[in-house]
Symmetry: C2
Subunit: 211 residues, 2 copies
DNA sequence: ACCTGAACACCGTTCAAGT
DNA sequence: ACCTGAACACCGTTCAAGT
């Protein structure tokens, strides 16, 4: 698209990020990126080793946008805010969040977010192993919820979804789900997320009292 | 490889499943599958509409292998067993499990597993909405744990991983993680999974008592 | 009905060449 | 040092043709 006189690593990452943001994985290729930069496809390889390395940079740039919320003093509140901030990041750039999830190469920025989680639970007084496990549990929950939310799992079912579900879920083969159909059909991402977070936080609290 | 006189939908799915099982996503393509079947690539399209439809069939065949554990009478035990059976399925065929995770088209077999979850929590006496939310929380937890486990996140760090981590996690920028390094470095998938499950089950229990 | 073969519109990446 | 261009070894899928 816009011709750039001299390529830089950063410009390439920037444009790649915009492409992912607006079009998602399907809209991105090294060749399309080159086209957007007004450059031969192979020019990119002079600045980034390959596709995967470039994507690591995109993910890194994406994660560095994330603001860590300030502490309140109550670990339950802080954990909730940190999880919500991660979910917010996911929702603000769904396509790049999906890219981050699918990208299995580790990226340094992840440790900044991880540190915030660890600090909160450590200060709350959990023992070391519980802190480590609790962080994994919480970040796991938040990220997988966000993935499902972005995939549209927490929207109320529309007519065609419901029809498809009713087709396979009949009263004799799926009595429980049939009884629960009203609650399965209606979903509220906000309340559902808060519910799971409450369950986990409550479960963790017991580890603290049990000392 | 082996020449088949007449293609059937089932044979195609079977061979595709074996390819995914042994080689994963990278080792599969419609053309390679055709090669394995000793047939022109386009012959497959006579039996399956396209790549995505074929993969739905593979996922469906995979999920139908899953045995639902018998009930014990204690919902806490039953939930644990059901989650472990899902995790077991993931570990027995990691590549197909990853395929299932990445595949965003809904597949009927999913509802069989879902029904088992709903039944347990419903029988345990939770109210409707809590059942639905609890099932989502538990299956979410189990699947995302399995994904991480298969990606190697719950293996103790080897020397190169540790070196990479120490490089970005220094005492002044990451004090909490530095303190916790021993517990971050050692991980035990079995115990870590049980921990998370306990936390969630304990958190759910409160919903029952709170009535 | 079932399969083939050529063709289309793509990929990521290597390698030799240009400035 | 930085970029180009041709080439390689792939993709999924359409379409017309063969049996």
């Amino acid at each position: 698209m816009a011709k750039i006189k001299k390529l830089t690593r950063e410009q390439i990452v920037q444009v790649a990020m915009e492409m992912f943001d607006s079009e998602g994985d399907a809209g991105f290729s090294m060749r399309k990126l080159a086209g957007k930069l007004g450059v031969d496809p192979m020019a990119i390889y002079h600045h980034h080793a390959n596709r995967n390395a470039l994507i690591s940079e995109v993910v890194q740039a994406y994660l560095s946008q994330r603001r860590i919320p300030t502490r309140s003093g109550d670990w339950r509140v802080d954990i909730r805010e940190l999880c919500q901030s991660l979910r917010g990041l996911a929702k603000s750039h769904p396509n790049i969040f999906r890219l981050y999830q699918a990208h299995d190469t580790w990226v340094p920025e992840e440790s900044r977010i991880s540190e915030a989680f660890h600090t909160i639970l450590l200060d709350a007084g959990f023992e070391s192993q519980t802190v480590v496990r609790g962080v994994r549990l919480l970040s796991n929950y938040t990220e997988s919820f966000a993935v499902d939310e972005l995939a549209g799992w927490y929207k109320p079912l529309d007519d065609s979804d419901r029809a498809q579900l009713v087709q396979t879920v009949s009263a004799d083969t799926h009595p429980a789900m049939t009884r629960l159909m009203d609650d399965i059909g209606t979903a509220d991402a906000e309340a559902d997320f808060a519910f799971g977070l409450d369950v986990i936080v409550r479960g963790l609290e017991a580890e603290l009292v049990g000392d």
